[in-house]
Assembly symmetry: C2
Homo-oligomer: 144 residues x 2
């Protein structure tokens, strides 16, 4: 039952293909970021056999704002706010804990604004922004 029309102007969790669904579910069930090969390993029993199948699914999920790539980790997470986070709250930032590996996604409008301002002044046509924080989360600090 595919819609012939785009009813919403923001990205909805539209119909995903089987592979996309599998990958997204895998990411959702994970506590920490997964590499493409991690995902592949978890999905062997579901018939996935080659990295490309995972990368292709990830590409679409990211396009739709359902997943993110963490550049400093070469790994992927599902979007914190499953439905509509993507473009809504500006650029997402990620705090990655070196202890437990968990990732906290947040957005700071002021940061977004400052970076946009820099781009404006400089004449830089900003397309995409990566913000990643590394450190230890509160939990892990207590546990130490």
């Amino acid at each position: 039952m595919a819609h012939s029309h785009e009813a919403h102007h923001h990205e909805r969790p539209r119909d995903l293909t089987r592979n996309q669904e599998l990958v997204l579910t895998t990411l959702n069930n994970a506590e920490a970021p997964l590499s493409a090969y991690d995902i592949l390993d978890k999905l062997r029993d579901d018939g996935l056999r080659a990295p490309l199948q995972v990368y292709r699914a990830l590409e679409k999920l990211i396009e739709h704002g359902l997943a993110h790539r963490l550049e400093s980790l070469n790994a992927f997470v599902c979007c914190a706010d499953a439905n509509c986070h993507g473009r809504a709250s500006g650029t997402a930032a990620f705090a990655i804990c070196s202890g437990c590996g968990r990732v906290d996604e947040f957005a700071d409008p002021e940061v977004t604004a400052r970076l946009a301002a820099w781009a404006g002044e400089t004449g830089f046509a900003l397309e995409r922004t990566t913000i990643e924080l590394r450190g230890r989360c509160a939990e892990c600090r207590k546990a130490a």
Copy 2:
């Protein structure tokens, strides 16, 4: 107390080893970021033969604040402000042009402050921050 002679309170281009010197010079001469293997290729004639020699040199250069790693590119640039940029102006941000490949390094204290504030509120012990902007620089936009 490692050295008794810290003449300057900011990092000086202290004595580099031969390999470190070679790698730094290569980065300085480059217009755009270089991957470790790019660097290796340029230094074959100088006797470098294995990736590890380059990675080890890069590691030290980055420690000393003379070079940066661009996570979203898996590549390296020399620090824009050769002598003193490192810790001085807070976290560095990088604008990477998808046209010419050139990288513009800058620092925005307000951005640094906001991220530090988030970390403070959250109890996240911030160790390292990555900020990378992708887009087209003013030059390349004109050229189009």
